[in-house]
Amino acid sequence: MTHTQIPRISGVLRSPITFSVLAGLVIGALFLVGTGADPFTAYGAVLTGSLGADGIGSTLSTGTSVLGMALALAIPLRAGLINLGGDGQMVLGGITAAVTGLYSPLPAPLTVALALLAGMAAGAAYAALAALCENSLGVPLLVSSLLLSYPAVSLASYLARYPLKEPGSSLPQTRAMPNGVALPAFGDSTVTIGLLLVVLAAATYWFTDKRTAFGYEIRMTGLNSRFAAYAGVERRGLTLKLMSVSGALAGLVGAIGVLSFPYRFVDGSLTAPGYTWTGLTAALLAAAAPLGTVVASFFFAVLAVGGLAMERTTEVPRELTQVLQAIVIVFLAARLRFPSGWFRRRSQATSQESPQEIGAA
């Protein structure tokens, strides 16, 4: 039986993902030693702080946002598209949900549903705009999505500081949602049914990816977009669809943020924790595969929440977890060669056998 086990174990160890995560942890440990902390105590604090009774709730509520953003970024990434505008889409979703929650005349439960949908619609529309920039105006998605993000964040910030500002408050925030306009929470924790919504989104993504013709087209576009186009997959339409879904999920995360504690839109509170970048990191680590994205998101939520506990016990700044995350991706990107055609701008992959086409450029 050792015969079958050894290759399996070495296969797992040789996988670039395992390697990158281990490398990240080792380098993190070096940092810890460098600041005079004991790595085992520190990592222990990360685990107990995030998975212990006191931390698990926080991990799950952080995990809700991380997984939501990770899915938002993984879905286009599966087709080789990188959406860097998650912040803008999320914040627009949040502020739209806040406006809906504050001004909807409907009964509270319906208002919650409407606010979620409105947030998703806002995020979707804004992400679709970035897709249109690529499709019709020829601005690469990577750039158009990122550049559009900044004005969206500024707009939401303006709204929260001026027209929608809570009267009398010194903080840049809107009024609190009316009574009952909130996502139901589990017990007295901060975990809301928002978690169920993003898990449902993950399940839908898994099913689409594995078992539908549409998911197949997305995967093939990611592996070789010219191949998919040759067989009739229309790239512009696909970009628009995937970006809309991506933006809708980002908007959902924003709306969930507003409809959970503290039940209002606070300027900067959605973007400050860096869900977008953590989500992108998780999606990249998992190569956008559905189950992998869920696992990676949980892992990063554990790091983020456990980082706080680590800071309390060892006085090592929690920013270390952010360093660790980035190192994992650096290693992954350097060791793992993503399939050709995943990204627009890349060094030319040379096919050895086919003679190069010779024609005027």
Partner: protein
């Protein structure tokens, strides 16, 4: 000359090179003398390219020795080979399209003034070399704007600028019209007359007979014949190359055309002007032409991958001029593209996923669902039917050999049983066994009553398969021939633009 010429110039002894699974070169000896044009011949996969890669320092031999001008050498990389006076023109040119001719020629061996590139000197150098060797080309032209024939001149000028005494040319005429090829041979002959040595890697009989002094034939990695061109014949070389009596020009029996399936009238798109053609059920129509004369653009326009500016395309009587690629496939079109790695497959995806493409919304799916089990079963069926050699359907397509990948691609498209098959360069870079298999499949497909439009740069392929041959030149159909009329001479002339009056495609 500082030293008296030593004879022979290039001497390879016992070169052996093993790749996983194949013995690419098996104790190959090759001797080339100063001032001669020496043809190295063989089918695809015979080991010519490996041998030249070893000579040029791009690969390392497992055994054997190389002598240049009598001295034993080992080249770690091409620049070492270049320093020893070798120079190679690769089949796919190694040029910088955005740079000028002069910049390309002097690149990495630049004349300088104060560390800056001396453009005037570079220009002068190109003019001198061009004049001396009859390789006229404007030194200030951007290489990307030049036609293929002139780019090849730039490649040769590059070698001459570096003082190459031995020139290796890999399939130099693959992209040339017969007239351009003749001009090239005139240049090569004058170079040889000046005492330079030329090694010509090719599989084309005609140019070997007309242009070379000696011939070495490789088969399965071994030298099977050393011949003096003047004393040999096409039949003898061909027999040596294939190892059997010549069936290179095997001509399949003609089909029996039925109703028109594809009708194209006055089609215009990028690089295609006013093309009209008809393909009937049970008929293979071949499009011959030198690469880059609009064939690829025409096929892409027919497949729905390139917008049509003017004209009409009908498939079984229905107008499909402006419908999407998906819709065309649904109406009954299958397509084998020219570049199987970049377009025809996703090498990183599994064999099963590659075989599902195009079927994934039709026979394999119901209500948008695509069960993995169905994809696997479908793959298993095609692998068996077309004899694709793959360990399992789960291995990535990149693990397949060139011939097997092509079988996968052709099998997948044939399995659509579409009334119209578009097929481009079906056997490029495929070994000879697979070529016959692929040809037989295409003919069987026609005989089952389907229409086939075949684009190929190989005249023998066109003549062997096509029931009717159209020749494209500069984006137009300039000649149409029946199977009997389509002899090599007529086609060659038309491909070079010799058939001036655009003939209507009469059916």
């Amino acid at each position: 000359m500082t030293r008296p010429p030593v004879d022979p110039t290039v001497e390879l002894r016992g070169i052996t090179k093993r790749f996983p699974g194949t013995l690419a070169n098996d104790a190959v000896d090759l001797t080339v003398h100063r001032g001669e044009i020496h043809a190295l011949m063989g089918e695809n996969g015979a080991g010519k390219s490996t041998l030249m890669s070893i000579l040029y320092g791009m690969e390392r031999a497992d055994a054997g020795s190389i002598r240049i001008d009598g001295r034993e050498v080992t080249f770690g990389d091409p620049s070492a080979a270049m320093a020893a006076g070798l120079g190679m023109v690769h089949q796919s040119f190694k040029l910088f399209d955005s740079l000028t001719v002069a910049e390309n020629v002097v690149y990495a061996a630049e004349p300088r003034r104060f560390g800056l590139l001396d453009r005037a000197a570079a220009r002068r150098r190109v003019r001198e070399l061009a004049e001396e060797h009859g390789l006229a080309v404007d030194p200030d032209a951007r290489v990307g704007d030049l036609p293929v024939g002139l780019r090849q001149r730039v490649e040769i000028l590059k070698l001459l600028h570096r003082g190459a005494r031995t020139l290796i040319l890999d399939e130099p005429t693959a992209v040339l019209t017969p007239a351009e090829a003749d001009a090239l041979f005139a240049v090569l002959k004058s170079l040889a007359a000046q005492g330079r040595t030329v090694i010509l890697v090719t599989h084309k009989l005609r140019e070997v007979l007309e242009g070379s002094d000696k011939v070495t034939v490789l088969r399965d990695g071994r030298v099977v014949a050393r011949l003096v061109t003047a004393d040999t014949s096409a039949d003898e070389i061909a027999a040596a190359m294939t190892g059997r009596a010549v069936d290179l020009d095997r001509v399949h029996a003609p089909g029996t055309p039925g109703d028109a399936v594809l009708e194209v009238t006055s089609l215009t798109t990028d690089a295609v002007h006013d093309v009209g053609l008809t393909v009937h059920a049970g008929e293979i129509v071949g499009i011959a032409g030198v690469a880059g004369n609009g064939q690829s653009e025409l096929v892409e326009a027919l497949a729905g991958l390139r917008p049509v500016t003017a004209g009409q395309v009908t498939l079984k009587g229905r107008d499909i001029t402006h419908v999407s690629a998906t819709e065309r496939r649904a109406q009954g079109l299958a397509y084998v593209p020219e570049d199987r790695h970049a377009v025809g497959t996703a090498p990183a995806a599994s064999v099963a996923d590659n075989l599902a493409m195009g079927h994934h919304r039709t026979s394999l799916s119901a209500k948008g669902l695509l069960p993995p089990a169905t994809v696997r079963t479908h793959a298993g069926r095609l692998i068996e039917r077309f004899g694709i050699k793959a360990a399992t359907p789960e291995v990535p397509a990149s693990a397949l050999s060139g011939g097997n990948l092509q079988k996968l691609l052709i099998g997948r498209e044939l399995a659509h049983e579409a009334p119209l098959l578009l097929v481009e360069q079906p056997t490029r870079g495929v070994d000879i066994g697979a070529i016959q298999n692929i040809h037989d499949q295409i003919v069987a497909y026609r005989d089952a009553g389907h229409a086939v439009l075949l684009v190929s740069a190989e005249l023998s392929e066109i003549r062997g398969l096509a029931d009717r041959v159209l020749v494209m030149y500069e984006g137009r159909v300039t000649a149409t021939y029946t199977k009997d009329e389509a002899d090599e001479q007529a086609l060659g002339l038309a491909m070079a633009g010799g058939a001036v009056a655009p003939t209507e495609a009469v059916d």
